[in-house]
Subunit: 544 residues, 2 copies
């Protein structure tokens, strides 16, 4: 990831060109963000749309308008920069994901998620690389070497599950949600690690030693990144528990939580680890310990502030991608041979679909073999939805493609320009076309539970689907604890450990958590009552 | 202000030089911010310290350490940039000030605040300019023209009341707080407008026409900026009231409020107005209307999120100023003649004290003449505190000085270097020495009410002084309404309007607000009960 934090100056490149033009751009961009939120709200009940597609389409429309006004010279307000994306926009999204995830479901399906996220991404990357190598060699595109092909594999192996998660519901389809969500996070991390490894390793002569080195490196990164995230989260819990005892200050607590979360991401970058994994596990630990050590006001504030940051960052990304898609410079190379570009995009899209099918169905089969209860198994319809949910390609693919095929946002080689435009095409097509079809598809494949509880949830709670997941945080707190006891009898032998490993691990984790971790770091039930709650501080009638 | 939004690329200039070094810098900076919060919390009960001084001292110490490690080459992590300050750090501080201010006190003292903030700053600027012109002409400093002298006046007329406001309490000394606070906001705006006017006007031949133009321009800016802020605030209230009726979403509401507040600032920049004034009045309108149209969760979240943003931005600024103070490049010019630098700094500090005294005491006298009730008058001790509270010079002065005397953070002229180092010296000296003396001074001058309620508030509410002001928002909501009725009988004639103008204006404002504004834009008591409160959504036992 280190490589992306290069020329952040280019982030606001438009600001250096002209002063007043930059202010106009920023105004327009902030106004468009507001517009996306309002329109997204109005279209909320719509069967097809969601916030991401709205932002993408508004971005495209704005791009067209700017293109027309500037006489075909310019289409975007800001130059797309991986730095802006990886330093400012991605961390809040991933942190919020970890902070709001239902830990019970996530850890119960931990092995399956890892299978999909790590092994699956490797399979997908290999298939796309090999397929592209075989097909593109026969087309005249430009000089593309083996490193480029592997990079293409990594770029198109990075899924974008934001769009799907806006449609899937954590309550109705907890298994599906946790699988798609968990896979998305692990997949992001895997793709980025893979991409960096491809950039840095000498790939001209691949042999067993290099392959072994590669795999060892991957697991080392995974483990250390997770540990760093857990460490930072525990540190924040410890600091707030020790220091703020009896003298709580909401502003300081909230500021410390935000800064420590961001620090975990930056520390991972410092040690050349995966910031995405680190900040994700930091979010999980913070919601399990730190969140219980602060005042009621701080809890409400952090819960919603993190969700809002993540929400704005998502809209920002889609608006940005939509606006950047029309950049005239990249399309100039392609306009000579539109057929080639369409062919390349279609081939890549096909490879994405094949590559994903090649691991979702076999790995689901493997995962089902290990499950005893039929309820825990992944049915064929669910497998299809998992396959479908990972077809969308988004900002991570864009950022990686820009990093590989451009130098500070500009490209002058034909082959590179075609790769960039193909990435844009695949991202736009998959997000808009596949994205539009997701809601109807899910309601066809999973008709009853989905539809019932969705209409129920809308009538009982006027919040959006996104906000619906928020109150779950409280329920999620004790999920780690309950898991050992409530369904399966306590295992008493080594055999039990072998047959129900996840549950046994959770049972011992729960004992360890209660005996050592919670007295040390705080958490639900282990912190004295903290005043400063909104219900306490002001008379009740003020809140009605 | 337009001029400041130039080369924002320089903001993260360090990032372009070396990739890994930049990550190290960002890590260190975030870690230092965390450290400042923790140390500030530990020193909270200390008689002398406050958060600003802590941040400044930590910044200085870090600067020394970096200077030693780098062998005297470098002392800061980031190059100080007016852009970063004016675009990202100042808006949240001023918006939060408007959002949390006690509107009752602010509007009651509106005329006095305007006297101090606008007329006083003009007097102060004139005295400093004339004094500097007379004294510096006799010293060998370098080529300084009349525009530079006027700029020096504007630079050193900009007070920094952040430090004082951390010590003054809105509950104990409401009059003093609102005067110091209101003056601070108006003073910031006046200084910036003044500075821009000096930069753009042809000042070689000043005559009555230019002076009249200048004054007209000032009032035009003031009025339009205020109106723009009020308009944006009302727009946000209207959108949220109309759109979110019955279908509230906390994330969207919070995101809209933050984005619209920022939009108001950027719009002001777009139209070459004063963003500071605009965002301040936007904050006032948002807390009066918009804040009442959202869910309970949104209210708690926005209240604390804005306060936290402002808090972090303040610490960031002081840390930044402290670290930048040791920049070796600027001190090189001064090292030849340390006597000159000390002399210039002392003279400027003296002029600041004289210039402030020259308007605080006469204007307080004028203001007292208009007041009938002795309680409303400003006593001599209070005048002394108002004088003292405005002696600190801070980030606004630094930003203006950098804008005037450097080009993108570097200076190569002796005169300019001396001005920069003198500004740094005055800022450091006034913030640390005067800042340290403020708490003891206030407890000597206002011994009884201050001390009693301070210890009381700590025992009854474990929040910090900053957070103590937060619950006041609710009380503040109805202050505009109550003002007309609760103390003074309703005026029934034109004579009453002349003798108690403020109260009469408020009485009619209240009628207008109830009859037209609130039904249109929402507000306390004019919005149906909004579900989604933390107390409603989850069972009560979850919150204990």
């Amino acid at each position: 990831m280190e490589a992306y934090i290069g020329s952040i100056g280019s982030k606001l490149q438009m600001l250096t060109t002209s002063d007043h033009a930059s202010v106009v751009s920023m105004n327009l961009f902030v106004a468009l963000l507001c517009g996306c939120i309002v329109i997204g709200h109005l279209l909320e009940e719509n069967r097809w749309m969601n916030e991401s597609i709205t932002a993408l389409i508004i971005g495209l429309c704005t791009g067209v308008i700017i293109l027309l006004i500037s006489g075909g010279k310019n289409s975007h307000l800001l130059v797309f920069s991986e730095d802006l994306f990886f330093i400012y926009l991605l961390p809040p999204i991933i942190f919020n994901a970890g902070f709001q995830v239902k830990k019970k479901q996530f850890f119960r399906n931990f092995i399956t998620i890892m299978l999909f996220g790590a092994v699956g991404t490797l399979i997908c990357c290999t298939i796309i690389s090999l397929g592209a190598m075989q097909i593109f060699k026969r087309m005249y595109i430009g000089p593309i070497d083996i490193g480029d092909y592997l990079a293409i594999g990594a770029i198109f192996a990075a899924t974008d599950s934001v769009c799907t998660l806006q449609v899937l519901n954590q309550d109705d389809t907890p298994l599906l949600y946790s699988l798609v969500f968990g896979e998305g996070v692990v997949n992001d991390a895997t793709s980025v690690v893979l991409f960096n490894a491809i950039q840095s390793f000498d790939l001209t002569n691949i042999n067993a030693v290099i392959a072994w080195e590669f795999i060892r490196n991957f697991f080392y990164l995974f483990l250390t990144s997770t540990l760093l995230g857990v460490f930072t989260g525990l540190l924040s819990a410890y600091i707030i528990k020790k220091l703020y005892f009896g003298r709580h200050s909401t502003d300081r607590e909230v500021a410390l939580m935000i800064l420590m979360a961001y620090l975990s991401y930056m520390l991972a970058e410092l040690f050349y680890l995966s910031g995405i994994l680190t900040v994700f596990f930091c979010g999980i630990v913070m919601s399990h310990y730190t969140w219980h050590n602060v005042t009621e006001s701080s809890r409400v504030t952090t819960k919603h502030a993190f969700a809002t940051l993540s929400f704005v960052a998502e809209i920002f990304i889609f608006l940005y991608v939509g606006m950047d898609a029309l950049d005239i410079e990249k399309w100039r190379f392609v306009s000579d041979s539109p057929g080639t570009s369409v062919a390349v995009s279609s081939i890549l899209l096909g490879l994405v679909m094949v590559g994903r099918a090649a691991f979702v169905f076999p790995l689901s089969f493997l995962s089902n073999l290990a499950k005893k209860s039929p309820n825990d198994r992944i049915g064929f319809r669910q497998q299809f939805i998992i396959w479908w949910a990972g077809l969308m390609r988004g900002a991570v693919s864009m950022a990686l493609a820009y990093n590989k095929f451009t130098s500070s946002g500009h490209t002058h080689l034909r082959g590179n320009a075609i790769m960039i435009t193909s990435t844009i095409t695949v991202v736009l097509f998959s997000t808009v076309v596949f994205g539009l079809m997701t809601k109807p598809l899910i309601s066809i494949l999973l008709p009853n539970p989905k539809h019932q509880s969705r209409s129920l949830s809308i009538s009982s709670d006027p919040a959006t689907p996104k906000s619906l997941t928020l109150p779950l945080l409280e329920e999620g707190q004790d999920s780690l604890d309950d898991l050992g006891g409530h369904e399966i009898a306590r295992p008493s032998s080594i055999r039990a450990l072998l047959t129900t490993p996840t549950h046994t691990v959770h049972h011992y984790w729960r004992k360890f958590d209660d005996a050592f971790m919670r007295p040390m770091f705080g958490g639900r039930g282990f912190v004295p009552f903290v005043p400063g709650s909104p219900t306490e501080r002001s008379p009740p009638n003020q809140w009605h």
